[in-house]
Each structure stands twice: as structure tokens, then as C-alpha cells.
Symmetry: C2
Subunit: 351 residues, 2 copies
């Protein structure tokens, strides 16, 4: 079958590889669509990061480069391994793409996203969504009912937003500020909006500001170069401040703004991945007793995320900005995101 | 009566002023002992900060400099204002030294330490503990039973530690790391130890390391210049990491260490006041989903703090490193703390 495999930095190849074999407790899936993630770009440009370098096999998958890429994918069940009796051939599913040890304190407490040995299917081995077929342990396969398979490929990044929203403690009627309208900022806002939270997004880029409004996930978009974000939020909340805020840009000024706009005893969730140390005004955290909380990936978030889409509370269609074939992954996929990432939100690949 | 009043930076005067008048709902107190706080030093060296400058009266007290200093004090009830019937003349008390508005969202939710108009008695007006007598509204007066009046003067800074510990969520049997063994670090550790938490303190100064051990508040003291703190905590916790950690030094390297030693999903409470922006490794917060929480002063902490001392779970005697008369406030009090602050923990003033 055809698959995109990471060999080394700037060396992702579309090549023929053997089909994966079904095993007991696992599910065989024909991949329908696979999204390209920011971490795929990072692997391509700066990797190996999450991919295991040659000679350094991942501790759980046992695999090393070359490995199949792609961890945001949907597909159709084609076969069930021994002992799997609660799925149906032909059913639409998505994959929560994890390897975890199941034994460390984090796994035992249900925070398996923080497993000390954690790896991602589609980065650390186990096949991936940028190939025609994949075999995944039953635990990680989530049925999506009648959600279309293209939208279902966005369940994975939507779960990242869901996880951050759960950590924030936001509830219906609250006011949330989301700093940065890139893909993760938009999908975090989508979850908030779907849960009945009033959303304010801050963004400088014209294309992203337009997207925040056209997708319907932002009740308000504020450009900090043109408007005082704190004054806007104070007016919206009668001086109370936002209940929660989300840093989705990994920019000092954005984190400052989130600390400024959140109410005393409010929560600021950091969803972004920082490539350098941040300069933080700790006094803001102290004098308002803010909780600054980190959020990474997802754990136990897929069922609620799928429900939000099934119930129509989140419409994922507007976030799909491109559909390409696997053969065009580099030129029309990775290069587009690298060079014109302000207009593209999510490009889907059909293997 | 005699009182120490802040007039301007480097200008604190011991002078004769009229005695305060008793009013309905208030309590007249003869001050026994008053501690000197780090914020008193900051007012003296860099003020006015919390003290209202001439021409800028505090919004709640209506007072401006000169104002009486001293907010860590104990004393004896000498008279009760109209409507106060639940205290006894001669009873030992401490004061929770606040002005709050009672109307803002924070006050209504019980987080009155975050009141938008908050001021401290002994800094913003209302008299203070560095004077012979003070009159305080009943709400802020806490009976201390048979706690000696000298130790009772340390209830206020101990409440700062108690508040931070409550925000951390620490419970008996947990492991806590406290970064910095200055007065607030030591008193935070004292609360933790009194609650049955295993305490590890990190400190560079020899005098402070000795104090952390001699006071009995630290189960372990680790000097990061001589020992790998993370390795020490990992061994102590079988690789799990500390349940909670406390930044009590306002030093980048200390905050880094607290983020390193705390377990995934653990809480780091920042108790210190930062005079400059911090350089923070946000990735540490994200990849372990740490909650970095600010803590300032206290609210609803005095009863539990007093209980810890009454029950003998915290012994405040070892933290009293000096006793002076009000006339010696500058020379033997402020100057000692400014010049030799590593050996002095708490100097008490007897007005």
C-alpha cells in the first residue's frame, strides 16, 4: 500500500510498504482522510522530534525511522481482531493516536497524555493516517456515527481544544478570551462556543481575523494593534474580567494580555508550544491569584468532542481549507502550510 | 501615645499622636507586639507603595501620609464599641489588617484579599501595630486564646503561608518542596509540616539552611549549588515528583526548580513578590500540565492558622529572632533587616 514515511529532516517519502497485519484486540481501518498537523511540519522542518531517529526505537512501539506519518485521521472499519466485538465492519471511526504504558502514576490516574513513555501513532510508529490502511488497538478507536469522514478527521485537533477547555473549568454563560486565531485557537474557540461560552478572540492577522468571524466561533474579534483588549473585555463583562483565557500563540505579549483580561482567581490555559522561554509578569499572576495551567494533547476527551460535533454544536466544515491526494503531500500540503499558513487552517489528505 | 508613622521614603518617625477613639462595632486594643514585615522595609526604602502619598488619600480609609505603620500585631482588648458583645476585656487577640469594600465580586465571593479597593491597616491608614493603641472593626479581630502574645504577632505572616498552602491543595502525607528559606518560605513550610506534609526546602544561604533545620519545619534541606534537587526529590518520591511546590524567592532558577520537581498535574504556588519580569520555561508547564498559581496575603485563613498554633502543630517561638522597643525601630529593627537579613527572621517591636 501507499504511505508517507518520515526518513529524516526534509525527507518524507511517498512509498509502497506492506499492509499492516490485523492482531488480537485490534481494528483494521481503511483511512478516509488525514489532516496535516503543526507537529508534522515541525518534524519535516526540524525533526526528528517526536519521531524516533534511526537506532533509537520508541520504547513502546519498538519502531524507528522510517515511520508512517499522520495522526489526525478518520476511516472505515474493515476487519476486527480476535476479542473485538463491539464495532461493526463499515463503521466510521476516528483514532486517538496514542502509545501509553498503562503502568505509570499518570496512566493509573487517567492522565495518560502525561504517560512517561507516551508516543503518538503516526509519529512514533504504529503506522499512521498518511497511508491507505492502519491497524490500531481497540482502546484508541472511537466510533463517530454519522459524522462525515472529512469532518471526522478534525476530531483529533478539536480534542486538543476540548482538553484545554476542560482544564479551564469554563461553563455555559462564561466569557472566554482566546489569544491567537491559528488552527488550535480556532478549534478551542469552537469548543467554547459549542458549550455556550461567549468567545472573544484576539488576533493581528487579517486573514485569521476574518476566519474567526466567518467560522462563527468568535462572538467578538479584537485586534490588539487597533483596540485595547482589556478595555473591551472590561466593558463586555461590566468590569469583572473574563472567566477564562487561552494562550494559543506562544507570544509574550499575548500571554500578558491573557493575564490582563482574566478576572481575579481566573484561569489562563496555555495551549501553545513554546520554542523559547517566555518573559512573564509574575506580579499579574500573584496580585490576581491567577492559575496559569498547561494543557497538552487530550485524555478522555474524544467521546465528549465527538458528541459536540454529532449534536451540531460544532461545525467542522469551515475549517477544511484544502483536500489533496497523498502524492501531493509535500508540494500542496506541507509547503502550502509553511509558506501561506495564514489562510490555510486544515488541509486534508486522502490516501 | 507613641507611634511610628511613615511620612515619606526614608522618613519614618517615632512621635506622639492622639489616641484612637472607640467607635460602634469596633474594638480597642493595647498592642503587645508587632512584627516588622518585608513590606515595611520596602515602604521605608522605596515607598510610598502601599502607603497613600500626601494628597492621595486611600479610597477606603480616607487617610494619607503620615500614617501609622505595623500590620503584624497582637494585643489585649481594652474596650468594646457599641454592638460588640462576643469579646471580653483583657482577651488576647490578633488583627487581620484589612480595609475592603465588601461590594465587589471578589468581596462577595469571599476572596476579599483581592478586593479592588483593598488596603492594609498599618500601611493605608486605620492606625497600626507600631503604636501603643489601635481601634479595629470587630470583623478583623481574632481571639487567640492562650497563645502567648509574642508568638501571636506571627499569626499574620503565618496566615500568608496558610493561604498559599490552601491554594496548593496539599494534604497530609504529600511531599512539598519550598524554594527559599526566608521568613515566608519558613512559615509556609511550618504550615505544611503542621498539616502533616513532608517538606523539602531549597536554599543557598548557610544561615537560612541552618534555620530551616533548627526550627524543625524542613524534613530535608537541599542546597542546589551542591546537590541536584530534582534527583533528590525523585529519590524521595520513588520517581513520582513532589505533589506541590512553593516559589518563595522570586528568582528564575528557583521557579525553574519548582517546575522541575513537581509531579505531572502538580501545583506550583508563587508566594513571592517579583520586582521584575520572570523568565519562565513554559514548556515545563505545558508538558506536565502544571498549574502555576499566584497567592497573595490571606482571606478566611486566620481561624485555621490560629488553630494550628493552639494545637501545637506550629511552634512560632523559633522564628522570633529579636525583640526591641519602638524607639529602636529604625536602628535595631529596619537597619538590621536591611543589612543582616540572613540571620534575622522576625524582629518583634514592643510599643
Amino acid at each position: 500500500m501507499k504511505a508517507a514515511r518520515f526518513h529524516a529532516r526534509k525527507d518524507i517519502r511517498i512509498e509502497e510498504i506492506p499492509e499492516p497485519e490485523l492482531r488480537p484486540g485490534a481494528v483494521a481501518i481503511d483511512v478516509a482522510w488525514c489532516g496535516i498537523c503543526g507537529s508534522d511540519l515541525h518534524e519535516y522542518l526540524e525533526g526528528p522530534i517526536f519521531t524516533p531517529a534511526p537506532g533509537h526505537p520508541h520504547v513502546l512501539s519498538g519502531e524507528e525511522a522510517p515511520v508512517v506519518m499522520g495522526h489526525e485521521f478518520s476511516g472505515t472499519v474493515t476487519a476486527l481482531g480476535e476479542g473485538v466485538d463491539d464495532l461493526t465492519i463499515g463503521e466510521s471511526v476516528v483514532v486517538e493516536p496514542y502509545f501509553v504504558c498503562g503502568e505509570c502514576p499518570q496512566c493509573r490516574e487517567g492522565n495518560y497524555n502525561l504517560c512517561v513513555k507516551m508516543g503518538f501513532i503516526g509519529l512514533a510508529g504504529g503506522g499512521g493516517g498518511l497511508s491507505e490502511k492502519v491497524v490500531v488497538d481497540r482502546r484508541w478507536v472511537h466510533p463517530v456515527g454519522d459524522i462525515s469522514l472529512d469532518q471526522a478527521a478534525l476530531i483529533e485537533p478539536l480534542s486538543v481544544g476540548h482538553h484545554a477547555v476542560v482544564l479551564s473549568g469554563a461553563k455555559a454563560g462564561d466569557v472566554a478570551v482566546v489569544g491567537g486565531a491559528g488552527p488550535i485557537g480556532l478549534l478551542t474557540a469552537a469548543v467554547l462556543k459549542g458549550m455556550g461560552v461567549i468567545t472573544v478572540m484576539t488576533e493581528l492577522s487579517g486573514a485569521r481575523k476574518a476566519k474567526a468571524l466567518s467560522t462563527g466561533v468568535a462572538d467578538h474579534v479584537v485586534d490588539p494593534s487597533q483596540q485595547d483588549v482589556k478595555a473591551f473585555v472590561d466593558e463586555l463583562t461590566a468590569g469583572r474580567g473574563a472567566d477564562v483565557a487561552f494562550e494559543c500563540a506562544s507570544v509574550d505579549a499575548v500571554l500578558d494580555t491573557m493575564l490582563d483580561v482574566v478576572k481575579p482567581r481566573g484561569t489562563v490555559v496555555n495551549v501553545s508550544i513554546w520554542g523559547k522561554r517566555a518573559s512573564v509578569d509574575m506580579l499579574k499572576i500573584v496580585l490576581k491569584e491567577i492559575a496559569l495551567v498547561g494543557s497538552i494533547a487530550y485524555a478522555n476527551d474524544h467521546p465528549a468532542t465527538i458528541w459536540l460535533v454529532q449534536e451540531g454544536k460544532v461545525d467542522l466544515a469551515p475549517f477544511i481549507t484544502g483536500r489533496i491526494a497523498l502524492d501531493d503531500l509535500i508540494g500542496e500540503g506541507l509547503d502550502t502550510l509553511i509558506n501561506r499558513n495564514e489562510t490555510a487552517v486544515k488541509i486534508l489528505v486522502h490516501p
